[in-house]
C-alpha cells in the first residue's frame, strides 16, 4: 500500500474519533487486553486437550470454547483496527506489528488444520502426534502474538 493510503487512514474520521478524547485509547487498550485474556484462556483449555494434558470426550466444551475464542478474537480485531486508525504510523513498517500479523495468520492456518483434520479427536479420548503438534504450535504462536503486541511500542518510529 502506498503512503497516501496510510495518510488517508490516519486522516480519517475514525482516526480522528480515536484521538478525540484522552479516555478512548486507554479504554480500547483495556478492552483489547481483557479480550486477549479470554482468548488465551479459551485456547489454553482447547490446546491442553490436544496435547494430552487431559484426555476426555469434550466436543461440546470445545465448541463453546471455540465460539468464545472467536468472539474474543473479533473484539481484539476491532480494537486493533481502531489502534491502526488512531496512530497509523506507529504501526506501518513496525517489525513487531508485522511479525504479530504474520503469527496471527499462521495461528489461523493452524486452527484451520485442526478443524480440517483433527476436530473429530475431541469426540474420543485419543491424542495423536498430529494433535500434540497442532496444540503446541497454537500455544507457541499465540504466546508470540502477545510478545509482539507488547513490543510494538518499543519498535515504533
Amino acid at each position: 500500500m502506498s503512503a497516501s493510503v496510510f495518510q488517508r487512514i490516519a486522516d480519517s474520521t475514525l482516526g480522528a474519533w480515536v484521538n478525540s478524547s484522552a479516555l478512548i485509547w486507554p479504554t480500547l487498550e483495556t478492552i483489547h487486553f481483557i479480550s486477549l485474556c479470554v482468548l488465551m484462556g479459551s485456547l489454553l483449555v482447547i490446546d491442553l486437550r490436544l496435547v494430552g494434558f487431559y484426555r476426555e470426550r469434550c466436543a461440546s466444551t470445545i465448541r463453546v470454547l471455540a465460539r468464545l475464542a472467536l468472539l474474543a478474537f473479533a473484539v481484539n480485531l476491532a480494537t486493533g483496527v481502531l489502534f491502526v486508525f488512531g496512530n497509523t504510523f506507529k504501526y506501518v513498517g513496525n517489525p513487531a506489528f508485522e511479525l504479530k500479523l504474520a503469527l496471527i495468520a499462521a495461528a489461523g492456518l493452524n486452527a484451520g488444520l485442526y478443524q480440517w483434520r483433527l476436530s473429530h479427536l475431541v469426540e474420543t479420548e485419543e491424542v495423536t502426534w498430529g494433535s500434540m503438534a497442532v496444540g503446541c504450535v497454537s500455544l507457541a504462536l499465540w504466546a508470540g502474538v502477545i510478545v509482539c503486541g507488547r513490543m510494538i511500542t518499543f519498535y515504533a518510529r
Binding site: P26, I34, C37, M40, G41, V45, F53, Y54, V64
Partner: protein, 141 residues
C-alpha cells in the same frame, strides 16, 4: 533492545495465562462450561500458578529497574492490592479443591468455592485494567 521490554512482554504472557485460566475455571465451576471434568480443576489451578510465577519473576525484574517510580504510583499500588487479593483467593481455591480432596476424586464444589473463584477472576481482571492504566496515570509503561 533492552531487557525491560522483553520482561514486560513475558509479563503479558504470564498475565494472559493466569487471567485466562482463572476465567475458564470460574466458568466451569459455575457450569457455564460443560467440561472439562472437575477433577482437572486443581491441575489447571497449578498451571495458572506457574503463569503467576512467570508474572512475579518478570514483574520483579521490571520493578528492580524502576522501583522508586512505581512505588509512588497510586494505580500501581492498586494493581498490587488486586494481585494480592487474586493470588490469595486462588491459593485458597487450590487448597480447597486441590490436594486435600484429591483422594476423594471429584472436588466438592460448593457455593463458597464458586464465589471465591468468581472473586479471584474479578480481582485478576481488575489487576489487568490497573496494569494497563499505569502507562496513562503515571509516566511509567
Amino acid at each position: 533492545m533492552a531487557g525491560g521490554p522483553t520482561l514486560l512482554a513475558l509479563h503479558s504472557v504470564g498475565m494472559a495465562v493466569v487471567v485466562g485460566l482463572s476465567l475458564m475455571i470460574t466458568l466451569r465451576l459455575h457450569r457455564i462450561l460443560p467440561g472439562p471434568r472437575l477433577e482437572l480443576i486443581p491441575r489447571l489451578l497449578t498451571l495458572a500458578g506457574w503463569g503467576f510465577v512467570l508474572n512475579l519473576v518478570t514483574g520483579l525484574g521490571v520493578f528492580i529497574t524502576r522501583g522508586p517510580e512505581y512505588i509512588v504510583s497510586g494505580i500501581f499500588l492498586a494493581k498490587m492490592a488486586l494481585v494480592v487479593v487474586g493470588a490469595g483467593l486462588t491459593v485458597w481455591l487450590w487448597s480447597r479443591l486441590g490436594p486435600p480432596t484429591r483422594a476423594a476424586g471429584v472436588p466438592a464444589v460448593d457455593g463458597v468455592a464458586k464465589a471465591v473463584s468468581l472473586g479471584a477472576t474479578l480481582a485478576w481482571f481488575g489487576a489487568v485494567v490497573a496494569g494497563r492504566l499505569i502507562a496513562y496515570l503515571s509516566d511509567l509503561y
